[in-house]
């Protein structure tokens, strides 16, 4: 963005603003306040509906998986950065690390799903209903895996791992800001490979447990990758939006250039295609084979009002943004790119809505204010969580050994 010679010398100017400063405190307070109020309002409204909390729980799960995908995307970005020894992405890596700071809050929010399940609330997952499981051969056979205690244990394992990994990488990275020790980069690089494997397995399994088990008769081995596609897509979109917002507020103005925007745009565009590729791969095999226990997932999504959402996803989540973001001129125009990225986050939400809500209402598409309250509430708490952990850190790894390479990075 700037015309300073940062991009030829590879050194940050002394007057570069690399702190959120008092803004962090303000945003944290706003996030916590709005988050608690909105979630409480959603809870009360959900209780008043008198549907055994079914609507609330589905909205809660939707919002939870939406913001979980941001944090998981952030973790993926950090791991990938170290794994491949990337240079270009150093200037935006801290932003991804800040996103992973939300894992502790997400852990607490996860309890909002596990605890009711343990207390015997059967409103979210069909497999948690004993009467149904007893009469259903398939669910009976799956009960050894799909049961409340084991579900809770698995969630604890996933979150323990994500918390540990995000903490490890954030801590080393912030430590390097003061010490400038290149050995820290090596440490992170060494851990990144096994961490990536663990990340892949846990993310896929979390998607199976949280989302796929909403249709417990159904199974799709690629489903974990489908959810991951949304995680990766949202993190690149988020980084572009965050970079643009920070630069508008006068921060990181020299560090992040159009070259970085172009790369973030490329990755967003690539994962738009990746999402469509995985989604279609999942659909085509099931459609071709047409076996009842597989096609049960697509039945409501193809033959009820949900078919319009399915169709909208193909057009809005793939056709339009794929062509719209294809040109380099779009990617090198930060405000325009940020706008596209906001759009991508919106259609990513639509995608999750399409995954979650047909299990609440298989025939009709019903949007309820509780959905928005849960999203606003969880979004506020996500903001609070991320900034609470990493809000005081610098906005870019100022003494990373590869920083100068990232500052002088040029696409050609």
């Amino acid at each position: 963005m700037s015309t300073t010679d940062t991009h030829t010398t590879g050194a940050l100017p002394a007057n570069e603003k690399v702190h959120l400063g008092p803004l962090a405190t303000r945003l944290k307070g706003l996030g916590l306040g709005a988050g608690l109020v909105c979630l409480a309002a959603a809870l009360v409204w959900g209780l008043m509906l008198g549907d055994d909390m079914r609507r609330f729980m589905h909205s809660y799960l939707l919002a939870f998986t939406y913001f979980l995908s941001f944090a998981l995307g952030g973790l993926f970005f950090v791991l990938l950065h170290h794994l491949v020894g990337a240079t270009w992405s150093v200037v935006v890596r801290r932003l991804a690390e800040i996103l992973t700071g939300a894992f502790p809050v997400l852990f607490l929010l996860m309890l909002g799903i596990v605890i009711p399940l343990w207390l015997g609330n059967e409103s979210l997952y069909l497999w948690s209903d004993h009467d149904i499981v007893e009469q259903d051969h398939l669910l009976h056979a799956k009960a050894g895996y799909l049961n409340a205690p084991f579900f809770a244990i698995r969630m604890l394992i996933y979150f323990a791992l994500w918390l540990a990994l995000s903490r490890y990488f954030l801590k080393r990275s912030v430590e390097q800001d003061t010490s400038g020790d290149p050995a820290l980069s090596d440490k992170m690089k060494r851990l990144s490979a096994p961490a990536m494997i663990l990340y892949a397995v846990t993310t896929a399994w979390a998607a199976f447990d949280l989302l796929m088990s909403l249709a417990p008769h159904w199974f799709s081995t690629i489903f974990g990758v489908y959810y991951f596609a949304g995680c990766a897509l949202s993190v690149y979109a988020l980084l572009a939006i965050m970079s643009y917002a920070l630069q508008r507020s006068g921060r990181l103005t020299s560090a992040i250039s159009v070259e970085h925007y172009q790369d973030l745009g490329k990755m967003t565009n690539a994962f738009t295609l990746f999402w469509a590729y995985i989604g279609f791969s999942q659909f085509m095999l099931i459609w071709a084979a047409n076996i009842p226990e597989e096609s049960v997932f697509y039945r409501p999504r193809m033959f009820t009002d949900w078919k319009w959402v399915s169709l909208a996803l193909i057009i809005l989540h793939f056709c339009i943004p794929f062509v719209g973001m294809m040109s380099r001129h779009v990617k090198r125009n930060p405000p325009l790119l940020a706008l596209w990225c906001v759009y991508m986050l919106a259609v990513h939400l639509l995608d999750l809505y399409w995954l979650v809500m047909p299990s609440y209402s298989p025939d009709k598409v019903v949007v309820h204010p509780i959905d928005l309250l849960c999203l606003a509430g969880m979004g506020g708490l996500f903001l609070f969580g991320a900034l609470g952990v990493a809000g005081s850190a610098k906005l870019l790894p100022v003494r990373d050994p590869r920083l100068s390479g990232s500052l002088t990075f040029i696409n050609q």
């Binding site: 279609f280 659909f283 085509m284 459609w287 071709a288 084979a289 047409n290 294809m326 040109s327 380099r328 040029i410 050609q412």
Partner: protein, 413 residues
Amino acid sequence: MHDNEQKPGGRTEEKFYGLLAEFDSPGALVEAAAHVRDAGYRKWDCHSPFPIHGIDPAMGIRPTILPVIVFGAGMTGTALALLMQWWMNAWEWQWIVSGKPFNSLPQQIPIAFELTVLLAGVTTFMGLWALNKLPQAWHPLFKKDRFYKVSDDGFFLAVESDDPRFDRAETERLLREAGATAIEEVRYVTSPEMRRVPRPIMAFIVVTAVLALVPFAFIAKWRNSHSDKPHYHIVPNMDFQEFSGAQAPNDVFPDGRASRAPVEGTVAHGELKADDHFYRGIADGQFARSFPSQVEISKDTMDRGRERFTIYCTPCHGEAGEGNGMVHARAQAVGATATGWVQPSNLTDATYVKQPHGQIFNTISNGIRTMPAYGSQISEADRWAIVLYVRALQRAKNASIEDVPPEKRPAIK
């Protein structure tokens, strides 16, 4: 090459290509490029061992058109794949695959995707070569020993003498100013003979082209000759597939048969045959007195009926349908009439003239007396065409002079 240059008699001419300037670093080359660009030169180029960041804007190179070409090629691939699959599956050779429609978008998408990628990828590669005017087997700069460093550690800028702004002294001064460490004139000798393709390369091309024809020659020979040896099985497990034939035993199923009966209540595609009029010749519980709506009364149908009649009916009923075909002639010749041979019916008799269309259709379908059923051999549409032709035969046999158009009557009399 060197031999050619000294060959006497050739119309050699010396040409002045331009000035070659060397720079000692990539950065110096970028700066010099900006200099030459600002001086307004058009025909010049930079040469370096590796791609240099920022040289494109420094040289004033406009953004390439390649992405647009590649996008067009990709879209062509998509359209081509969809058209091809529609043509193959839904038009030219309709074939049901796992109960899906003939023209089914989901099963076309993988092919469409692949062809999009293929055409876009190949176009990127070929377009890159074409837009860069590659391959260039020869270039005047190759004449300079100094230029060999371009694949190692040399950074060069060459300005062509064809450039409208080129001026021997002025251009040299500009390059010197821009920081060139050495400047050389590039002159080369050329003649029509030198431009000829060298003999070994020409020989290679000719030999390769001839050899490339050999497989086709063999294919042509094989296609046009007979052999009593068994043919080659290039893909044996496609030629000999492990599937059970009809009526074969098979342990997989409890009834021990490989053939599966259709699920009760199901009807195979096109086998419902609910229309009594068309499929059985019955309308309102009686033999139909009209042709069904599917049958078009036309010259085409009549010709088709005549052809089918000639194939299936004439052996017994004769060319004119009078019951005196070859089979009957033969039966008489061998004396079968004495042992109970009954002459085939004369279709032009009043009995048959009076029969409803549907009854004749029914007789063809199911047979009558000693006549076998033809329903399994002749399709419904063809049976109706035969009925139409039989009607024509009857009309011809029982015609009066009034049936002939007035202007043709004198010819008959």
